[in-house]
């Protein structure tokens, strides 16, 4: 393949390595989250007299969170698509949309947590709540980190435009964002749906 039709972010050896390295990191993240899941499954029924999942989960809110995140993953994809066609403005717009959706998700999730605490399920209540909040909290912390990180990248792209370096940074951030969506799908399925079944 020729230089010209290789996307910018893959052109130099260093940037190829950055992207590949990030994939390896995502492999580690898969292990991290699967450990959180495994612990959750083990502790799920240890409610110690406190509320269990089905007592507190609210399907509507969770669905909204899910759609917010799914859509943000889509718009993150569109942002990369714009980047590859060198449309800086579109890239910025789609990225901002993505971040707003992410922020919306976080808002919903924080509200959800506050609600649970009111229902008597704080992180200290039981084995179940500890595992639940850490699993969700780790995901939420990743989203929060992602929002800040990508905001900083926006500053860089606004200043420097789409270059090999900024493109590879953006591409990596998009991998991260999609990955969080994948994690959420599993949380949605194995925590919420399974819990409500």
């Amino acid at each position: 393949m020729t230089q010209a039709n290789t996307p910018l972010e893959y052109r130099s050896q260093q940037h190829q390595m950055n992207i590949f390295g990030f994939w390896v990191f995502l492999g580690a993240e898969i292990v991290l989250f699967s450990t959180l899941f495994a612990s959750y499954f083990v502790l799920e029924h240890n409610t110690a007299g406190g509320p269990a999942g089905q007592d507190i989960f609210i399907l509507k809110d969770v669905l909204i969170e899910t759609f917010l995140l799914l859509t943000s993953s889509f718009t993150a994809g569109l942002a990369i698509h714009s980047m590859r066609s060198m449309q800086k403005r579109n890239l910025i717009i789609w990225t901002i949309v993505t971040l707003l959706l992410g922020a919306g998700f976080l808002y919903m999730e924080i509200n959800e947590f506050i609600h649970y605490v009111h229902e008597g399920a704080s992180i200290q209540t039981s084995g179940f709540t500890a595992a639940f909040f850490t699993l969700l909290g780790t995901h939420g912390a990743h989203v929060t980190f992602g929002i800040f990180w990508i905001s900083l990248l926006l500053v860089q792209i606004a200043r420097r435009g789409i270059t090999e370096k900024t493109a590879s940074k953006f591409f990596i951030a998009s991998l991260y964002w999609h990955f969080l969506d994948v994690v959420w799908i599993f949380i949605f399925t194995f925590v919420y749906l399974k819990g409500m079944m």
Binding site: L32, T35, S39, K169
Partner: protein
């Protein structure tokens, strides 16, 4: 918190150490200031991103930690050398074996091996550096911050005392209310993040930065084992991250993951700890296997026997290593099916390991064996490790393990694998690659003293433990009564440990002696070796290779050397691109150390405030667009001329 609670007071032993540590610190700072070396330290070491220097810093830290861990070991040996001994009390003994185990495995073995990987692997694959030099520096400094934080527990606040395994519920706040186990949770977390980054770094380096023609099946075996080890790191360390996070939450924020109350499950800690912990012991032993392979091939003057099966064996061990964790808690009341399956998977590890043992033996066969220092360690490894390995297989038989578990038999097993497997390897590697790091060899004669004292001392220290174990002595007992009859065995063992200490002292003396008197200018290839790192100057120049080598076969360097095709053409020298130094790794790591310290003492406001430092470091990092610099061709030429003579 009042001062007397903050500082560990009242004990003469600790008071003495505190004073000693304090004086050493002040002395060091004064010395550096007097010699006007601060700037040099900062520019050449603290901010460096050069893999060789980072490797050397890892090794230095490892040696220091070996000293600390070794003194812990000697103290334990002294305490148990006679029945009803009153040298350490129970609390001290508990703290000492805990810190000994943690330091030896995480702060001695890991940095030693990672240090050697750092020095050697990029050279072996003909690369300029690792894939992410700055991340590499961050890894080191995070490890260092974690190690320092952990060691701080000795004087500030109190040491962890629940064993290196920190089993819950004991390690929970209810049973160990001091800050000791907070140190464990937080220091290991910080160092662990650094290690994970190292794993990623080497996976990418070895996948993407091999010299042209260096195909997978031409990789030196040490590089192979580093690669596989890195994969295990990436697979296993996230589990530790989670386990430690739970531990911190339980201890600092009152959650119930592992507690007795409110639905916590202590077995979950065991499960997660060993899901990481077992792979961890292979993380430390696989690079060691790689080092032995290189050294044995070099000093048998032969290529490695069964290269392919060696590679498959390493991969096989790595795969199995993720499937055996339950063998550390067969006695937890698992179902018979669970214990049977895990017995089987565990014993299966003997098969690839055996392949390696026999391949080493057959590399030696028909060779011309030279008993140099690196080789002696590698040879002694084979029989010693076999004893450790077969006793491991005995432990693997779940039913029999009901009689060995947590006894001194187990302690003997793991020292018999860890010391030959890791410590011998580290010594072998340090002797072997020393010229590549510093340009001179360590003294062979003092080295022989080091070797014989240490190996003999080692066997005398740990062999008796098998027997007291079979005689019903459990591990972690600070005292025992006369009537048990263990006194003689353990007295013998204590003497052995002194011999070992003498060996280690000989090593330290050797370093000192060689720095002062050893012959310089040993050339690029002092051992007549086989792999690429010997193709460049000793010590290796900053840029590693003036021209990235091209590789046509396994042991390419060996064949080219014999064919006399190692010359360098002047026209091949181009300016070389190098990464710039960076202050962010050390800055971020110090910030982590500070935040960690506040977390240990549960001073959350301070922790939050100081975590701003981490954020500043990260932001500075993402806005860093420094692209490195070029070493001009003339400079390279001059440096090459210095050791090659005239260029072609």
């Amino acid at each position: 918190m009042s001062l007397d609670k903050l500082l560990v007071t009242g004990d003469p032993l600790i008071l003495f150490s505190q004073i000693a540590i304090g004086l050493t610190m002040v002395g060091l700072v004064a010395l550096i200031t007097y010699l006007k070396r601060w700037k040099w330290l900062w520019n050449e070491w603290f901010t460096t991103v050069d893999h060789k220097k980072i490797g050397i810093m890892y090794i230095i830290s490892g040696v220091l930690m070996f000293f600390r861990g070794g003194v812990d070991g000697l103290l334990m040996k002294a305490q148990t050398s006679r029945p009803d001994m009153e040298f350490l009390d129970a609390q001290h003994y508990d703290e000492i074996f805990t810190t000994h185990g943690v330091i030896m495995i995480l702060f001695m073995a890991m940095p030693m091996l990672i240090g050697i990987m750092n020095v050697v692997v990029p050279l072996q694959i003909g690369a300029r550096d690792v894939a992410f030099p700055k991340l590499n520096a961050l890894s080191f400094w995070l490890f260092f911050a974690g190690a320092m934080l952990f060691n701080l527990s000795f004087v500030v606040g109190g040491s962890p005392d629940a064993g290196w395994t920190s089993y819950f519920p004991l390690a929970g706040k209810e049973f160990t209310p001091g800050v000791g186990n907070n140190y464990y949770a937080i220091a290991l977390q910080i160092a662990g993040i650094g290690t994970l980054a190292t794993g990623i770094n080497f996976v990418v380096t070895i996948t993407k930065m091999r010299a042209p023609g260096l195909k997978w099946m031409r990789l030196p075996i040490f590089t192979w084992s580093t690669f596989v080890t890195s994969i295990i790191i990436v697979a296993a360390f996230p589990i530790l991250t989670v386990a430690l996070a739970y531990m911190s939450l339980d201890r600092l924020f009152g959650t119930h993951f592992f507690t007795v109350a409110a639905g916590g499950d202590p077995m979950l800690w065991l499960n997660l700890f060993w899901l990481w912990g077992h792979p961890e012991v292979y993380i430390v032993v696989l690079p060691a296997f790689g080092m032995f392979s290189e050294i044995i091939a070099t000093f048998a003057r032969k290529n490695l026997f069964g290269y392919k099966s060696m590679v498959f064996a390493v991969v096989g061990i790595a795969f199995l290593s993720m499937l055996v964790w339950v063998h550390h808690f067969y006695t937890m009341g698992n179902s018979a099916a669970v214990n049977s399956i895990f017995s089987l998977t565990t014993m299966m590890i003997a098969i690839p390991t055996g392949v390696k043992i026999f391949n080493w033996l057959f590399t030696l066969r028909k060779g011309r064996i030279e008993f140099t220092n690196p080789m002696l360690w590698s040879l002694a490894f084979i029989p010693c490790f076999t004893i450790g390995g077969v006793t491991g297989v005995m432990l693997a038989m779940a039913a029999a393990d009901y009689q060995y578990h947590n006894t001194m038999f187990l302690v003997a097993h793991f020292h018999y694998v860890l010391i030959p497997g890791v410590v011998f390897a580290v010594f072998a590697a340090v002797y072997y690659w020393w010229p590549k790091m510093f340009g001179f060899k360590l003294n062979e004669k003092i080295g022989k003293w080091h070797f014989w004292l240490f190996v003999i001392g080692f066997n005398f220290t740990f062999m008796p433990m098998f027997f007291v174990g079979l005689d019903g002595m459990s591990r972690r007992m600070y005292t025992y009564s006369e009537s048990t009859g263990w006194g003689a065995w353990l007295g013998f063992s204590a003497i052995g440990s002194l011999v070992m200490a003498a060996g280690f002292a000989a090593f330290c003396y050797n370093i000192y002696w060689s720095f002062r008197y050893a012959e310089r200018n040993v050339g690029n290839d002092p051992w007549n070796a086989r792999t690429l790192e010997w193709a460049t100057a000793s010590p290796a120049p900053h840029y590693n290779f003036a021209k990235v080598p091209e590789v046509d076969s396994l042991d390419d360097f060996w064949y080219k050397k014999k064919a006399g095709k190692l010359g360098l053409k002047k026209s091949d020298i181009k300016p070389i691109h190098m990464p710039s130094n960076s202050w962010t790794p050390i800055f971020i790591s110090v910030a982590f150390g500070i935040v960690g310290f506040f977390l240990v003492f549960e001073w959350f406001t301070l922790a939050i405030i100081s975590s701003v430092l981490i954020i500043i470091g990260l932001i500075a990092n993402t806005f860093d667009y420094d692209d490195g610099y070029h070493i001009p061709a003339e400079e390279v030429e001059e440096e090459e001329r210095e050791w090659r003579g005239e260029l072609e």
